[in-house]
Each structure stands twice: as structure tokens, then as C-alpha cells.
Amino acid sequence: MTASAQDVAGDLADVRIGVVTFPGSLDDGDAARAVRLAGGSPVALWHGTHDLEAVDAVILPGGFSYGDYLRAGAIASFSPIMREIIDAARRGLPVLGICNGFQVLCEAGLLPGALTRNAHLHFRNRDQCLRIEARTAWTGDFEPGAEIVVPVKNGEGRYVAGAEVLAAVEAEGRVLARYVGANPNGSSRDIAGVTDSTGRIVGLMPHPEHAVEALTGPSTDGLGFFTSILASILGARAVSTG
């Protein structure tokens, strides 16, 4: 490694990305692995505490928090750590919700709309093509309009919102990603993910953390989400210190 490459790796490793474990979280280990493979440092966060451990960003992972009983993500959105995350997010902490994490963000009111039972009523797991549409803290490393393949797997992934909300999300360019080809769950306007107006709070139904190694994923396209946030945080640090 050259000296500067070492510096970059060192800087990357200084970026701390929290991964929350709720009772019933399943893809927390995968999200942590993805952060690690991107060069950052994953930090395990526990639902029952109020401690964000000074992380630079947070991932709410996939799974079935509280068994998805009641509504997916509903009970988790009231957990102690979510109170801190909601506050911090409103002050600019980047947050990515994947699948169940996306459901939690919608239930917490940080993102518009809701995720409901798939139109065909089955859990569906398949390798899915997505088009990345919005440039956010979590998607900066993708070319605008980039098409990527990552797994989608959910039973309640159908994105819905009232007509006005949908129109606003479209008009403000807040569709993070759209399903290309077959829509796996009947989501309105093929929406696979949305962002808040700042581009820091982002929710995505498919699973980029399952597409970070050629050995185990359909591609390594998912890595871009994790490298993007590391770059974005390092960039913000450079601005604030430079």
C-alpha cells in the first residue's frame, strides 16, 4: 500500500457506522459485514439503550423485528434507541433502513408512505434489478440512473402512500430506487426505496448488504451503498476541518 492509500484506509476505518439490533433483527450481521468490506467500522447498537456510541451514521437492518407482529416495523419504531435515532436524524445523522429498517423508518414518520402486504400475498425472494434514481449520502458512488442487481426478500414490501404524497415524492426527486423489469411486490410506481428531502435518511426494500461478495451474492453492486456513506462522511469531515 502506498502511504496515501494507507491514510485513506485508516480514515475509512475511523468511520463508525452503527447497526441496530432489535429483537428479531436478522440481517444485522450482514449489514455489519458490508460496512467492514467497504472499509468502515461497524458498531453494534442495542435497541434497549439510549446510547448511539458516537457513530457517524446508522443502519436499521432487515429482519422481523418483534416478529412483524401487528405491522412490520411498528413495535420497533417505539424502542428506546429509536428515540435517539429520530432526534439525531432530524439533526442530520445519516440513517439507512433496509427492508424491515425501511418499515421502521416509515412507522417512525421519518420517511413518507408505508409498506404493506405484497400484492400476491407471498413472501418473495429473488435477485432484482433496480435503477438508482436519487443522489443521496448513501448512493453517491452510483452513476445517476445506474442499474444494479441485489436480492429482494420480503412479505410486506409493497410501498404505498396517498396520491398527494406520491406526487410530492416524485416531484421532489425523492424516489431513491425503482424496480426494473418485474415489480416483485406490487409497490406503487415500482418504488423500491425513498429518501427524505436532505438525502440523509434513506429507506430501501431490497438488500444491498446481501450483494457485497461474489461468493454469496448475485453481484457486488450492493457495496456502493456502504462505500457511498463512508465517502460522504469523510467528505463532510474534510469540509469541516479544512
Binding site: Y66, G67, Y69, L70, I75, F78
Partner: protein, 78 residues
């Protein structure tokens, strides 16, 4: 057209993990007054008149409820 409501609940002797989860969430949120919760399904059917209540019961018994684990009740709204 008449609205008929079919309520479907797990039999009382069957465990209801969903209701349990809601109850423990309520307890954590400090709603001490709620002592028990059971979660079931509610179907609202729009039925052409005259309503054949026996037919609705049969639909409930075969399609809307799983009689092995669930009970149902039918209410014709007037």
C-alpha cells in the same frame, strides 16, 4: 347492498403471539390499564340483498376462518 362483518379470532385456548407482542409493547409504553390483548381479523363484505345469512356463515366457516384454530362471528349491519 348490505354490509356484513365477519370477525375471526383465534380460539381462546390457542396461543396468540401477536396479541402478546402488542400487550408487551403497550406495557413498555406505560399503558398499564390494558391487561390482555388478542388480535384477530375483521372482514367487511358487501352483499347483495336479500342477505343469505346461512351462506355467509358457510363462507366464514370454510374460507374466512380456519375452524381448526379460529372462531368467527357474523354481524349483518342494518
Amino acid at each position: 347492498m348490505t354490509r356484513v362483518v365477519v370477525d375471526v379470532m383465534l380460539k381462546t385456548e390457542i396461543s396468540d403471539p401477536q396479541g402478546q407482542a402488542v400487550l408487551s409493547a403497550l406495557t413498555k409504553l406505560g399503558h398499564q390499564g390494558v391487561q390482555a390483548v388478542r388480535q384477530g381479523k375483521r372482514f367487511e363484505l358487501e352483499v347483495t340483498d336479500p342477505v343469505d345469512e346461512a351462506a355467509i356463515r358457510q363462507i366464514a366457516d370454510t374460507l374466512l376462518a380456519n375452524p381448526v384454530i379460529e372462531d368467527f362471528s357474523v354481524h349483518v349491519q342494518t
